[in-house]
């Protein structure tokens, strides 16, 4: 049929630049982090790499990494499960984990440890002394969790923790924990949750008890929740745990009557985990995010809806649907006024908590948007503090291998004249008649997908191809932007002017074949959607 131009030439010899330009200056590739290639496992590729940051300020909890093999078991009754921490002589450790019914599956740890010990890269892991101070990257690849020192040149991680029978798929680090540096790890099997001290001592294994759960999708500490955390699953449920409570009590929850309706059930006995189940949606919950104050919890899922809950009141506040397809990720602005979502419609959506609806669509990705984040360290170079406008900088990464940076100027958002009215039911609305813009969207309603012409559009400030593989996430730090691809490669991009002396990288352009387009049109278009 009709041909369009193909850029196959680009993909044959991917030319990736080691810097990208923005209005405020150049971002330069500083370090790359990856997993030891020798440790590739059959499970590689089946899980998507996520990255968490851990800032260790003080000395970690007094647990010695050289501790001999320690046993740990949790659970009772039919679904007893056990997790053992096995000390390896070379400093690497493999965490064997057996889930399922009665621990009947045999542990395959011995062979795993063998292969780890034999790998050539294991030596480099113990060369760096993990002294517990500094900033560390935690990322999952295949059947392992890796920990890398953010500020070291070493490409290889300093520590790896391997799992048997189940892959780690999501993790979260508790920056504020008083009693140690706790890392939560959610597993692909859904069998409970592991809490590790970052020194890789197993602190606790929280069994799912009698609760039958699906694969873990996302995990988060409740900000200021004193050890409470939530785990979102592929079956549309979110479970609430408290780290100081024991797992595997008699936590059982009633059968969900209507899969399409939001419901919260509390455990009958408050002594055991999980303490509550939120049934959020039909199909998978793909991402969750707490507002920094812990008041709101945002979820995105397979059904394409963003939902914002008042976490303590356990109430749906607002939300709405993607243009089409599932939503994959979400993130809050520091002031909890805006939420970003990204998904299978290739769009980055900006939601306003004040308006309780979508206020802008970011167009620029050529594939699904897999990670979004506000840059809380960024301040507009022109901001003099007198203007009315507030500028937010945010970033997005996609399966198109691109990192996009965006500016959101709040006074630039011109509200469309026409939009869809609020729907009737709190979890599903089908309204389609036009109504006036000024009408307030009632609390607890979900908006249907807006029409393409009704939503203001944003263009990226910069679009840069950062990896050869589809991306899975990004993190902003004080000095840099981190991008991570699905296969577990991480790149650290230094901000303009940030620690120039450290930047030992020559700005070699590997190949000039890549189209590099700094886009300076950062204003929100205001003509496309008027009738």
């Amino acid at each position: 049929m009709i041909s369009t131009s193909s850029t196959s030439a680009n993909t044959q010899s991917p030319g990736l630049k080691t810097y990208f330009k923005t209005p405020e200056g150049r971002y330069k590739l500083h370090y790359e982090k990856t997993h030891p290639s020798g440790l590739l496992h059959y499970a590689h590729g089946k899980t998507v790499t996520q990255v968490s940051l851990a800032n260790l300020k003080d000395k970690p909890a007094p647990s010695t990494p050289t501790a001999p093999t320690s046993g740990f078991s949790a659970g009772s009754g039919v679904r007893s499960a056990a997790a053992r921490l096995l000390g390896g002589s070379n400093g690497s450790r493999a965490l064997s984990f057996v889930g399922g019914n009665g621990g009947s599956k045999s542990i395959s740890s011995s062979s795993r440890i063998g292969s780890l010990g034999a790998s050539s890269s294991s030596n480099s892991m113990i060369n760096t002394n993990f002294d517990g101070k500094g900033t560390y990257l935690i990322f999952n690849v295949g059947d392992a969790i890796f920990i890398s020192d953010l500020n070291s040149q070493d490409k290889d991680p300093i520590k790896s923790i391997h799992f048997s029978n189940s892959n780690p798929v999501c993790h979260a680090f508790d920056q504020d924990a008083k009693d140690g540096h706790d890392l939560l790890i959610g597993l692909s099997s859904g069998d409970g949750v592991i809490i590790l001290n970052i020194q890789d001592t197993l602190r606790k294994y929280l069994d799912r008890g009698h609760t039958v759960v699906d694969r873990c999708m996302s995990i988060a500490w409740v900000p200021g929740g004193d050890g409470a955390f939530v785990v979102a699953h592929a079956d549309g449920n979110l479970y609430v745990y408290e780290k100081n409570k024991d797992g595997a009590g008699d936590s059982s929850f009633p059968v969900i009557k209507d899969q399409t309706q939001f419901s919260v059930a509390h455990a009958r006995y408050s002594k055991s985990n999980p303490i509550a189940r939120w049934h959020i949606c039909q199909g998978s919950i793909n991402g969750i995010a707490f507002s920094t104050d812990g008041v709101y919890l945002a979820t995105v899922g397979r059904d394409g809806y963003l939902r914002v809950f008042d976490y303590l009141k356990e109430q749906l506040i607002c939300g709405g649907k993607s243009y089409y397809g599932a939503l994959l990720c979400c993130a809050w602005s520091m002031d909890a006024k805006y939420i970003l979502t990204g998904g299978e419609d290739d769009l980055v959506q900006v939601w306003s908590m004040e308006d309780r609806k979508v206020v802008a669509w970011g167009e620029g990705h050529n594939s699904w948007v897999s990670g979004v984040a506000f840059d809380s360290y960024w301040s507009s170079p022109n901001s003099d503090g007198t203007g009315e406008s507030v500028v937010y900088r945010f970033g997005s990464v996609g399966q198109d291998t691109q990192l996009l940076l965006w500016d959101l100027e709040t006074d630039e958002i011109v509200v469309p004249l026409r939009r869809y009215p609020p729907g009737g039911s709190p979890t599903f609305s089908t309204g389609s008649q036009s109504s006036h813009w000024d009408s307030v969207i009632p609390v607890g309603t979900l908006q249907p997908a807006p029409s393409m012409r009704d939503v203001p559009k944003l263009s990226p400030v910069v679009a840069h191809r950062v990896h050869t593989e589809p991306l899975s996430g990004l993190v902003f730090t004080q000095e840099s932007v981190l991008t991570v691809c699905r296969e577990g490669h991480i790149k650290i991009w230094m901000r303009p002017g940030a620690s120039e002396s450290q930047s030992g990288n020559s700005e070699t352009i590997l190949s000039a074949s890549l189209k590099e387009k700094p886009l300076f049109s950062s204003k929100i278009g205001s003509s496309a959607y008027r009738q």
């Binding site: 243009y323 397809g325 198109d400 050869t468």
Partner: protein, 404 residues
């Protein structure tokens, strides 16, 4: 045609030799009951969720006929198409003199699947395949065939047959019980070779969309718009892109210049022009063909592009002229398995009653919805993953359903 003459069960131990067409003329599609074991596994997996009245039958491979099987399964689970085909067949049965053609063979096959007593099993689409090979020498060899070419040929053939039937009815009004329902559209058949309004058959109603090809002469600024119909959209693909992005490229503006200038009627000369494709009328069933087989001039041969192209389970066409927000839902994927264009295998993924099924010739398995994403392609050129989505079938959902 009420062909009840059933030949006894035939078990194909190996690929049958080319049978003379005479010998198979009255052979119905055999049911291979010997392969019931796989079926019962699927029944067990579905349990009491087995949809009522639904049949999940594998199709026997007669030697490189997987291109055919994979497309047939996708069409069978295209419910409006299946229903209308079965209806056509039921109404047409009374016309005794109907000659065998691809349409009757397909209808016969679908009727046979849907009327099976067992819920699962294997059927040999022997008569259909024989007819196909008789009809088109392209498909006669035992070579690896292109599933998209087959789908295209089949749909056009069905339309031809329906149009001829409608014409025959028109020219011979005394035919007993004219198949009114065979052509649901306005009956403006071609008269004396002068084409009036084209006949709209139920095949058109399901699959046909209209594209507008707009060309703007850069000299005189005149816009020439030409409409063309399509049964599927063939999209160029790029590494690490999405169907949304491929569709955007499809409708993006293209400049015609150098050796590819446009003949402007107003300027009466070749001019530079800008061309773009817009979807004027989106089809009810949107079939998207990914151009994974690309002719590489330097190599002098076709090459398979294993690019990772993600396709969402729900899709909207935003590059349309009107009705911009029609939503589609993915219900079938024909998958090409293999690293090259001249060999390999075809399988299909089908969504039926909210379950995803995997059809690989005789075998039918249930798969999780999340497994669909393992057929997107590879982000790197040399990958062990060779199962790539090749033809996508989306059905429009929501208000503007033109189900007849």
């Amino acid at each position: 045609m009420n062909n009840t003459e059933q030949v006894g069960l035939v078990f194909f131990v190996c690929r049958p030799a080319r049978v003379s067409t005479l010998a198979v003329r009255d052979t119905r599609h055999e049911v291979l009951t010997v392969m019931g074991a796989a079926g019962s596994k699927l029944e067990k997996a579905l349990g009491d969720q087995f949809p009522e009245g639904e049949r999940y039958f594998g199709l026997e491979n007669f030697g490189n006929t997987c291109y055919c099987n994979s497309v047939l399964q996708a069409l069978y689970f295209c419910v409006p198409f299946r229903e209308q085909l079965l209806e056509y067949y039921a109404n047409g049965k009374n016309i005794g003199d109907a000659e065998e053609n691809l349409l009757t063979c397909l209808a016969d096959l679908f009727t046979q699947i849907s009327s099976q007593k067992k819920k699962t099993g294997v059927i040999a689409p022997k008569r259909f395949v024989q007819r196909l090979k008789k009809q088109n020498e392209l498909f006669r060899s035992y070579m690896h065939q292109d599933a998209h070419e087959f789908l295209n040929f089949l749909l056009n053939e069905l339309v031809d047959i329906l149009e001829k039937e409608a014409q025959a009815v028109k020219s011979d009004p005394e035919t007993s019980s004219p198949p009114e329902k065979t052509a649901n559209g306005p009956k403006h058949a071609q008269a004396n070779g002068i084409s009036k309004e084209p006949l709209v058959t139920w095949v058109h109603k399901n699959f046909q969309g209209i594209l507008t090809n707009e060309t703007r002469c850069l000299q005189c600024e005149t816009v020439t718009a030409r409409d063309e119909t399509f049964f599927d959209l063939s999209l160029d693909i790029e590494q690490n892109s999405s169907i949304t992005s491929c569709l955007k490229n499809f409708s993006s503006t293209e400049t015609l210049n150098a050796e590819d200038k446009f003949f402007c009627d107003k300027c009466c000369s070749l001019q530079e022009a800008q061309k773009r494709m817009k979807i004027k009328k989106p089809p009810h069933i949107l079939v998207i063909h990914l151009k994974r087989f690309k002719y590489i001039e330097q190599l002098g041969r076709y090459k398979k592009l294993s690019y990772r192209v993600v396709f969402p389970l729900e899709l909207k066409l935003s590059n349309t002229v009107e009705d911009a927000d029609i939503e589609y839902s993915l219900f079938a994927v024909v998958v090409h398995v293999g690293s090259g264009p001249n060999h390999g295998h075809y399988v299909s993924l089908v969504k039926s009653h909210n379950h995803w099924l995997f059809f690989d010739d005789e075998n039918v398995e249930m798969i999780d919805e999340s497994a669909v994403q393992t057929f997107f392609g590879s982000a790197q050129e040399y990958s062990s993953n060779t199962d790539h989505g090749y033809i996508l079938f989306y059905e429009s959902i929501g208000a503007s359903n033109n189900k007849s």
